[in-house]
C-alpha cells in the first residue's frame, strides 16, 4: 500500500508533524495482553471489589432484575456497533427503537413527548433547568433540598457560569418539599421549580401541589425521577412541565456509576427547546413508513453556538436496554416489580424499626428507600456490618449536616427477605456492643 501511495515508509506519512513534536520512543504502557490475559486481569480487579456482599445502597443507582434477553439484544452487532442513525435508510432498526423509547418514556412519565436520551439523570435534570430557562427567559430556579445532592452539584456547576441563580427549598418532617417555604419563595422572577420524586430520602413528592404553586407564578415545574421503577405504581408527574429521569433501573447494571441513560420528557409545545436527539415518524417516496432524526435545528451540529445543548453522543445503547427491558416486563411486569419494591421496603422498615433506638426520620409515603436514625454513627455501624459481608445504609451526614446518624436504606425486588433479616440481626448485634 505504501507503494501505491507513493511513499517509502510509514514515517513519511507523518512528515506533516514537525520533527520536534513527534514522539521518538515507544509509549510506556502496560501490555500487550492476549484475550485470555486481558480477561484474567479484569477478573483479578473484580476480585478486589464487593462480590459476595449484600448491599442496601440505592440513592440514585438501583439493583433490579435484568433479563438475559436484554443483553442478547444489546450484543447484536447491528445495534452495538452502529453509529448515530443519521443515514436513515440503513438505520431503521435504531430509529424505530428510539421512537419506541420516546413513547415508553412519555407514557411512563405522563408527558407528551420524550427525547432519545441524555447522558444520565443528573445532566438530564440540569438540561431540563436550562430548557426551562430558555422557555421562560427567567434566570432564577428553586430547587428542593431533597433533590439528589449530586444532581444539585451538577446543576450548580453548569449554573455558575450561566448566571442562573438557584434557591433551595427545605423539607418537612414527611421528607417532602416544604410547600409553605416554596410558596413564600415563589415570585415571577422564578423560572422553574425543581423537585425529585421519589426524592433523595425515598419520599414521594406532592407533584400536583408543587405544580400548582409554580403555575401561580407562571413558572415551570420540573420533576426529576431517579428511581424509574417507581413509575410502575406511583402516579406519574403529569402535572410537571418537564420531567427528567434516570432510566438505569430499567435493565442497566450499577456498573460503578455508568453508563446509564437520562431522558427528558415534556409537553409537546416545548419540544423545540428540548435538548438531545429526537426520532420522528415519516414516509419515503413510496409512502412506506419510516423513521428519521428530526428537529435537528435544535442541535449543535446544525445550530452550533445557538443549539439547545452541546450534547452529541448520548446514551443510545442504554436507552435501547431500557426499551427492551420494558417490553419484556410489559405493563403487568413493571407493576409487579414496583409492587414488590413497596412490599419489601415495608417489610424492611418494620424489621429495622424493631431495633432499639432505630426509627424512621420521615413519615411521608415512600417507594423503596427510607431514612433511618440510628443511635450512633452510621459509619461506625457500617464498619461492623462489613464483617458480616453487608454493605449498610448510606450515611446522610455527608450530604445533610443535620442528618448525622441517619442512613438511607434501599431494598428492591432483588433483596431477599433473609438478607433483610440478616441486616436487622447484624445491626442489632452491633448496637448491643457498647461503643
Amino acid at each position: 500500500m505504501l507503494e501505491a501511495i507513493g511513499v517509502r515508509s510509514i514515517e513519511e506519512l507523518f512528515a506533516s508533524i514537525p520533527e520536534a513534536l513527534r514522539l521518538n520512543r515507544p509509549l510506556d504502557l502496560p501490555g500487550p495482553l492476549s484475550e485470555a490475559e486481558l480477561i484474567q486481569y479484569f477478573r483479578d480487579r473484580a476480585a478486589e471489589n464487593s462480590v459476595g456482599y449484600s448491599s442496601f445502597l440505592g440513592a440514585g443507582v438501583y439493583n433490579h432484575l435484568r433479563s438475559v434477553v436484554t443483553d442478547t439484544i444489546l450484543l447484536r452487532g447491528e445495534f452495538l456497533t452502529s453509529y448515530t442513525p443519521y443515514q436513515a435508510e440503513i438505520s431503521q432498526g435504531t430509529l424505530q427503537a428510539i421512537f419506541e423509547f420516546q413513547t415508553l418514556m412519555a407514557e411512563l412519565t405522563g408527558q407528551e413527548v420524550a427525547n432519545a436520551s441524555m447522558w444520565d439523570g443528573s445532566t438530564a435534570t440540569t438540561e431540563a433547568v436550562l430548557m426551562a430557562e430558555r422557555l421562560t427567559r427567567r434566570r432564577r430556579v428553586l430547587v428542593a433540598r431533597s433533590v439528589h445532592p449530586e444532581y444539585r452539584q451538577v446543576l450548580a456547576t453548569y449554573a455558575r457560569n450561566l448566571n442562573l441563580q438557584i434557591g433551595e427549598i427545605g423539607y418537612m418532617p414527611s421528607g417532602q418539599i416544604d410547600l409553605d417555604a416554596l410558596r413564600s419563595a415563589m415570585n415571577n422572577e422564578i423560572g422553574a421549580v425543581l423537585a425529585q420524586s421519589p426524592n433523595f430520602f425515598g419520599a414521594l413528592e406532592p407533584v400536583s401541589r408543587i405544580a400548582e404553586v409554580a403555575r401561580g407564578a407562571e413558572a415551570l415545574t420540573i420533576v426529576a425521577v431517579a428511581e424509574a421503577v417507581s413509575l410502575g405504581v406511583v402516579r406519574p408527574p403529569a402535572e410537571a412541565d418537564i420531567v427528567s429521569a434516570e432510566t438505569q433501573s430499567f435493565g442497566m447494571p450499577p456498573s460503578y456509576g455508568g453508563p446509564y441513560a437520562g431522558v427528558i420528557a415534556a409537553r409537546e409545545k416545548y419540544v423545540r427547546q428540548m435538548p438531545g436527539r429526537l426520532a420522528g415518524l415519516t414516509t419515503d417516496g413510496k409512502g412506506r413508513r419510516g423513521f428519521c432524526l428530526t428537529l435537528a435545528t435544535r442541535e449543535q451540529h446544525i445550530r452550533r453556538e445557538r443549539a439547545t445543548s452541546n450534547i452529541c453522543t448520548n446514551q443510545a445503547l442504554c436507552a435501547l436496554a431500557a426499551t427492551v427491558h420494558l417490553c419484556l416486563l410489559g405493563k403487568q411486569g413493571l407493576r409487579e416489580m414496583a409492587e414488590q419494591n413497596v412490599a419489601k421496603a415495608r417489610f424492611a422498615m418494620a424489621e429495622l424499626e424493631k431495633l432499639p433506638g432505630v426509627h424512621r426520620v420521615f413519615d411521608g409515603p415512600v417507594f423503596n428507600e427510607f431514612v433511618l436514625q440510628f443511635p450512633r454513627s452510621v459509619r461506625m455501624i457500617n464498619a461492623q456490618l462489613l464483617r458480616d459481608k453487608i454493605i449498610g445504609p448510606l450515611p446522610l451526614g455527608q450530604y445533610y449536616p443535620e442528618l448525622t446518624k441517619c442512613g438511607l436504606v434501599c431494598v428492591t425486588e432483588t433483596t431477599r427477605r433473609e438478607q433483610i433479616e440478616r441486616l436487622a440481626d447484624a445491626v442489632r448485634e452491633t448496637l448491643a456492643v457498647p461503643v
Binding site: L29, G31, P32, F42, Y158, P254, R277, C292, C318, A343
Partner: protein, 501 residues
C-alpha cells in the same frame, strides 16, 4: 443488482410494526421470582394521591415477540460488524468483543458507586490505570474520567480554563473556534458562559496564525483547536499557536476527537496544549451503540489540576481514594464517577495493544492515504494538505451533473457501504469526509475505492441513478421535511390504525 456492485445483494428482510401495535393484554416476556415478604396493598400504602392506576398504552408482549421484534429491527441496521463504516471524525473502528465480556463480569458490572472504597479497589484501579495510560498517550499531567462524552469533556475543559483564569482574576469573555470545528465546540463554549468567536481557516484549511496573532487579546480565554483538524491534517504551527495564546494569558484547548491519528506518534502535551479531551468511543474502540454511550476524559497540564471536577482519584498509602472535596474544583459535571463501563472497555483496548497502539495509528493513516491516493482522480480534493487518519473530498466535480455529496453517500449504500460523513466540516461545501480507521483490510478499502469510482462514473453517465439512491434498501429516502414540519415523536393509542412498516 448489476455486476459492478460486488459487495452487496438484496435479500428478504422481515417487516415489523411498532411494539405497541403488537401488544395484546395479558402477555409478558419476563417473570419475577415470587415475593418472599407479605404482600401489601400498594394503593393503601402510597395513598390515593400517589398511587398510579394504569400505564396507558404500555406494551404487553411475550418473550419470543421481544426477541423477534428487536432481532428484526436490528437487521435493518448497518454496523461495523457488517462492513466498513467510513464516517469521518467518528473513528468507526472494530469494537473488540472481549471488551463486552469484561464489562459484564461479576465484580465489574455489579458494583455500586457508593460502596465503601475499600470494597471498590478493583474499580478504582481500573480507573487509575486508564488515567495513567491516557496521560502517557497524550503527554499530559492529570486527568478526570467523569465526562460522559466528548461534548461534556469540552465543557469540563472550558470550565477548568475558566476556573483557572478566574483564579488569576479574570475569566475573560471569548473562546476562539476555527470555522472547521465540530458543532459541539461552539455549543459547549456557550454553556461554559463564553462568547464564541469563529475564526477563518487559511487557504490550506489550517489555523491562520497571523490572523490569530491579531485576534488574541485580554478577552480571549482560549482557542479550541482540533488537531489533526477536521480536514484530517496536522496543524503544523500548533506550537506557535500555543505560544501566542500563552503570551497573552489565554489557554489552548485541544479537541482530541482525532487522536486516532496521533496515539503513539505524537503527544499533544508537547504541542503546548493546556487541556484536551479524548473520545473513548472513537480512539479507544468502545462501541457507539447507535449513538452512545461514550466517555470524554479530560487531560490537563499541572496548572489546571487544582480545578478538576470532584471527586478526584488519588493514591494514598498504597490505596486508591476518591477525594470528595477540593476547594478550587469546578464541581461535579455528572453524578457518580462517569461512564465506568466505557472506561473498562477503553482500558481493555489499551492493554490489548500496549505500546503497539502506535501500529494502529500507522495503519489508520496508511488506510486513509491509500484511499486518498486512489480517489484523487475521481473526486475533488479541496485542500491538498497532507492527510492523516482521514481525507476530505468534495462533490465539486459531480455538481455539474446535479449530483451532490448526499446523493453519492446514498448511492454508497447500494454498494454495500455505510456512507462517509456528509456536509462536515463546514469549510468544505459538499464535503465527503472519509475515515477508514486501522480496522479495514486492504480488501475492504479496495472495494470501497471501486465503489466510489464506480459512483463517480455513474454520476457522469447516469446521474438520476445516483440522485434517487438508495435503491436496495427496505425504505427509500425519507421525507425529513415533513417529519420536522409536523413532528410525530411517539406512538399514540389512537394512531394504531397506521399500517405496519
Amino acid at each position: 443488482m448489476p455486476d459492478k456492485i460486488k459487495k452487496a445483494s438484496r435479500h428478504v428482510s422481515q417487516n415489523e410494526g411498532l411494539v405497541f401495535e403488537k401488544s395484546a393484554p395479558g402477555k409478558r416476556g419476563f417473570e419475577l421470582p415470587p415475593s418472599d415478604v407479605p404482600p401489601v396493598d400498594v394503593n393503601a400504602v402510597l395513598g390515593p394521591d400517589y398511587a398510579r392506576a394504569d400505564i396507558e398504552g404500555f406494551p404487553e408482549v411475550s418473550e419470543i415477540e421481544v426477541i423477534r421484534h428487536f432481532t428484526r429491527l436490528s437487521t435493518w441496521n448497518y454496523a461495523i460488524d457488517l462492513g466498513m463504516y467510513p464516517l469521518g471524525s467518528c473513528t468507526m473502528k472494530y469494537n473488540p468483543r472481549v471488551n463486552e465480556h469484561i464489562a459484564r463480569l461479576e465484580g465489574i458490572a455489579t458494583e455500586h458507586p457508593y460502596q465503601p472504597q475499600q470494597l471498590a479497589q478493583g474499580c478504582l484501579q481500573i480507573m487509575w490505570t486508564l488515567q495513567k495510560c491516557l496521560l502517557e498517550i497524550a503527554g499530559m499531567d492529570a486527568a478526570t474520567l467523569q465526562p460522559a462524552a466528548g461534548a461534556q469533556g469540552e465543557l469540563t475543559g472550558l470550565l477548568l480554563i475558566r476556573a483557572y483564569l478566574e483564579s488569576k482574576g479574570n475569566p475573560r469573555k471569548k473562546v476562539l473556534i476555527p470555522d472547521s470545528a465540530h458543532g459541539t465546540n461552539p455549543a459547549t463554549a456557550v454553556i461554559a458562559g463564553y462568547e464564541v468567536e469563529n475564526i477563518r481557516s487559511d487557504s490550506r484549511g489550517q489555523i491562520d496564525v497571523e490572523q490569530l496573532r491579531k485576534i488574541v487579546n485580554e478577552d480571549v480565554a482560549a482557542l479550541m483547536v482540533t488537531n489533526p483538524s477536521t480536514l484530517g491534517t496536522f496543524e503544523p504551527r500548533i506550537a506557535e499557536v500555543a505560544e501566542i495564546l500563552h503570551a497573552r494569558g489565554a489557554q489552548l484547548y485541544m479537541d482530541g476527537a482525532n487522536m486516532n491519528a496521533l496515539a503513539g506518534v505524537a503527544q499533544p502535551g508537547r504541542f503546548g496544549v493546556d487541556v484536551m479531551h479524548l473520545n473513548l468511543h472513537k480512539t479507544f474502540s468502545t462501541p457507539h451503540g447507535g449513538g452512545g454511550p461514550g466517555a470524554g476524559p479530560v487531560l490537563v497540564k499541572a496548572h489546571l489540576e487544582p480545578f478538576l471536577p470532584v471527586p478526584v482519584l488519588v493514591e494514598r498509602d498504597g490505596h486508591l481514594v476518591l477525594e470528595p472535596v477540593r476547594h478550587q474544583s469546578i464541581g461535579r459535571v455528572r453524578a457518580f464517577g462517569g461512564n465506568f463501563g466505557v472506561l473498562v472497555r477503553a482500558l481493555a483496548y489499551t492493554l490489548a495493544y500496549g505500546p503497539g497502539i502506535r501500529q494502529a495509528t500507522e495503519d489508520a493513516v496508511l488506510n486513509a492515504n491509500y484511499i486518498r491516493k486512489n480517489l484523487e482522480g475521481a473526486f475533488d480534493l479541496p485542500y491538498a494538505s497532507p492527510s492523516m487518519h482521514e481525507v476530505v473530498f468534495s462533490d465539486n466535480r459531480q455538481k455539474k451533473y446535479g449530483v451532490n455529496t448526499m446523493d453519492i453517500a446514498k448511492r454508497l449504500i447500494d454498494y454495500g457501504f455505510h456512507p462517509y460523513t456528509t456536509a462536515f466540516p463546514l469549510i468544505v461545501p459538499g464535503a465527503m469526509m472519509i475515515e477508514p480507521t486501522e480496522s479495514e483490510s486492504k480488501e475492504e478499502c479496495d472495494l470501497f475505492i471501486d465503489a466510489m469510482r464506480s459512483i463517480a462514473e455513474e454520476a457522469a453517465t447516469n446521474p438520476d441513478l445516483v440522485k434517487t439512491a438508495p435503491h436496495s434498501t427496505r425504505v427509500g429516502r425519507l421525507d425529513e421535511v415533513a417529519a420536522a414540519r409536523k413532528p410525530i415523536l411517539r406512538w399514540q393509542p389512537k394512531s394504531s390504525a397506521e399500517s405496519a412498516g
